[in-house]
């Protein structure tokens, strides 16, 4: 028998619960093998599937490299971490949870900046006044660069931010941000507003297959079995 299918699922938090519920609804019960604290599991009644519980931020990398055959993660993380996503992975199904919008947000007091074009327009005067480009705090370096380039905004500088990104403009470590938001409440609480055309991506959790993984007969069969249960 060839190698089994490796299914990467989030190892903790709300995303793990929702993933388990999603599979359970289709009659696929995820359960851990060995210790309850371990990171290995299986799907009850399905052969040739090995479940890997990993941190959701690492699932994209596992799909990209082909270490996992299938996985569940946010589209935002795939688009950010896999530059050639169209070739490396296949989006099989949006799952309806883990919804978040990746947006460009500026201080509400920037009354003159409503659109990306406005943002571009103030770039040079900002630099003249402050001796540097304005800074965009984000963990989405690639999504930001791609979106800004598409919108013709070139004069800025990214500062990488791995947490509490919404606080950076008020703290003075960045002028604006690119981050995820669900209701916009956190942005508003930090004195920020989303640009009118500042929606970069409407993201949600997706079931994704890796094109980089080696798909032997066992893995192929397992994939067909899972997909048949999910979409009868």
């Amino acid at each position: 028998m060839s190698d089994p299918l490796i299914l990467a699922v989030p190892s903790k938090g709300r995303l793990m619960e929702q993933t388990a519920e999603f599979f359970a609804k289709a009659g696929l019960v995820l359960r851990k093998t060995g210790s309850e604290r371990g990171y290995r599991g299986e799907i009850a009644g399905l052969d040739n599937v090995e479940v890997a519980f990993i941190s959701s931020s690492e699932i994209a990398a596992n799909l990209k490299s082909g270490r996992a055959h299938m996985g569940i993660t946010g589209e935002d993380l795939i688009r950010e971490q896999v530059s050639d996503a169209a070739e490396r992975v296949e989006f099989l199904a949006p799952l309806g949870f883990g919804r978040a919008d990746v947006v460009v947000a500026v201080p509400r007091c920037w009354i003159d900046v409503r659109t990306m074009a406005d943002l571009d327009e103030i770039a040079v005067s900002f630099r003249r006044a402050h001796g540097r480009w304005y800074r965009v705090a984000t963990k989405y370096l690639n999504l930001t660069r791609r979106f800004f380039a598409e919108k013709g905004v070139a004069d800025y500088r990214i500062v990488e931010s791995l947490g509490a990104t919404e606080g950076t403009p008020a703290a003075g470590t960045a002028e604006l941000i690119v981050d995820i938001t669900t209701t916009g409440a956190t942005l508003a609480a930090n004195g920020l507003r989303v640009l009118d055309d500042g929606l970069i991506l409407k993201s949600e959790a997706n079931l994704i297959a890796s094109n980089a993984a080696s798909w032997g007969p066992a893995a192929e069969a397992a994939r067909r079995a899972i997909m048949a249960r999910l979409a009868p």
Binding site: I111, D112, D118, F126, G152, E175, G191
Partner: protein, 392 residues
């Protein structure tokens, strides 16, 4: 192909000796600026596009550093360090590695580690002479390295600035068009907006605020904005203060009251940016365009023609050099004359050398004022491939 084999390494070294011989003979001092550069200074000077291709890392002390993506900025920093203010004239040459991330799809003409051989001249007072000398010296070095045939491309941001200055329009429109010149689509969109509907951006200002602001009374604007923010419960956060935001709003309201850009001026600007012709013919065409638009850019044209004469005298084949008005090279730090050398077989996207004037770069790396500066660099791996006939 960053000198992966001993033979390539030796070939590159031998070629570098020929190039550096030319530079040193012309009185340029050989320098070796640091490979590892502080990321902040460097990245503020070059913009995010090149930053995305720069290897940036944090050292164990938490300092953000980078591998230099070119040698011009490091040489500027070296010059600034040697004489504070960077005002004294100096001429430097170098041959060293530069690093740029390349997508996996990149071809061999775009290695992530490559060696640049180049020259930088600071503080020269005769502008056209310094520019012609830089280009002529690079062409001489390319020939010394064995490049038999080359195609030259020229640009001159000074001509464009002169047209903007001579054309009748509010100063802030000049500034905006000059700022947007680098971004082809945005530039044309802005030109169209000013010609048809300069009021468009003012319509996005909330009515209550627009009514309170008076472009005739700029001294009151900051106060009016502060009152508006207070009423709306909007907190002022960040370094961009009320005076800056108010000035930007006032400019928009002033736009709304300005007459659209005259059709003759729009036509002249559009015809100018479309000019692409052998250099001398281009000069004639530009003369015709400005004459028909009734604007005078005599000084900038004289500088352009004088530079061509100086290049001609220095042995550069200007007759076949192509002038392109939109040619400004991808790096935004150039401020005037720009040039590029393309070798047969390598194509326009992989020039073997390029350079130009960058009067504002010294200030952006820390000098108190702008310093006149001209420089150019040779992409030595591409040159070697072009000379040996190896197809990259």
């Amino acid at each position: 192909m960053a000198a992966e084999t001993a033979r390539q390494f030796e070939a590159l070294e031998a070629q570098a000796r020929k190039i550096m011989f030319v530079f040193l003979n012309a009185g340029y001092e050989a320098v070796a600026p640091a490979i590892i550069q502080p990321a902040g200074v460097f990245l503020d000077a070059i913009g995010e596009e090149l930053r995305a291709r720069t290897y940036v890392f944090t050292d164990p002390d938490g300092h953000e550093l980078c591998l230099r993506p070119d040698l011009t900025v490091p040489t500027c920093r070296l010059h600034l360090e040697r004489n504070s203010g960077g005002k004294l004239p100096a001429k430097y040459c170098y041959n060293g590695a530069a690093f740029r991330f390349q997508a996996q799809s990149a071809d061999k003409a775009h290695p992530r580690e490559f060696r640049q051989a180049g020259i930088e001249a600071f503080g020269g007072s005769d502008r056209e002479r310094a520019e012609a000398e830089t280009m002529a010296l690079v062409v001489e070095a390319l020939k010394a390295a064995g490049l038999r045939s080359m195609k030259l491309r020229l640009g001159d941001l000074g001509l464009f600035r002169a047209i903007l200055k001579a054309a009748d329009m509010p100063p802030r429109w000049r500034q905006r068009l000059a700022d947007q010149f680098w971004h082809h689509d945005e530039f044309h969109a802005e030109l169209k907006r000013l010609a048809t509907d300069p009021a468009s951006t003012s319509r996005r200002i909330p009515k209550a605020l627009a009514g309170a602001l008076d472009p005739g009374k700029p001294e009151e604007a900051e106060q009016r904005l502060a009152e508006y923010l207070e009423r709306e419960g909007i907190e002022l956060i960040g370094v961009r203060g009320a005076s800056e935001i108010a000035a930007s709003l006032l400019a928009r309201l002033a736009d709304a009251r300005s007459a659209p850009l005259a059709p003759a001026i729009v036509a002249a600007i559009e015809r100018y940016v479309a000019v692409r012709a052998p250099a001398r013919i281009a000069a004639e065409r530009v003369k015709e365009i400005v004459r028909e638009a009734g604007i005078d850019i005599g000084e900038a044209l004289a500088a352009f023609e004088r530079r061509l004469e100086l290049l001609d005298k220095a042995g550069v084949e200007v007759e076949t050099a192509e002038f392109s008005a939109e040619f400004g090279r991808a790096l935004e730090y150039y401020t005037g004359f720009v040039f590029e050398v393309v070798a047969p077989g390598l194509g326009r996207l992989s020039p073997v050398a390029g350079g130009g004037r960058y009067d504002r770069l010294m200030k952006s790396v820390g000098a108190p004022d702008d310093v006149p500066a001209v420089g150019a660099a040779i992409h030595t791996e591409r040159l070697l491939a072009a000379v040996t006939g190896e197809i990259l």
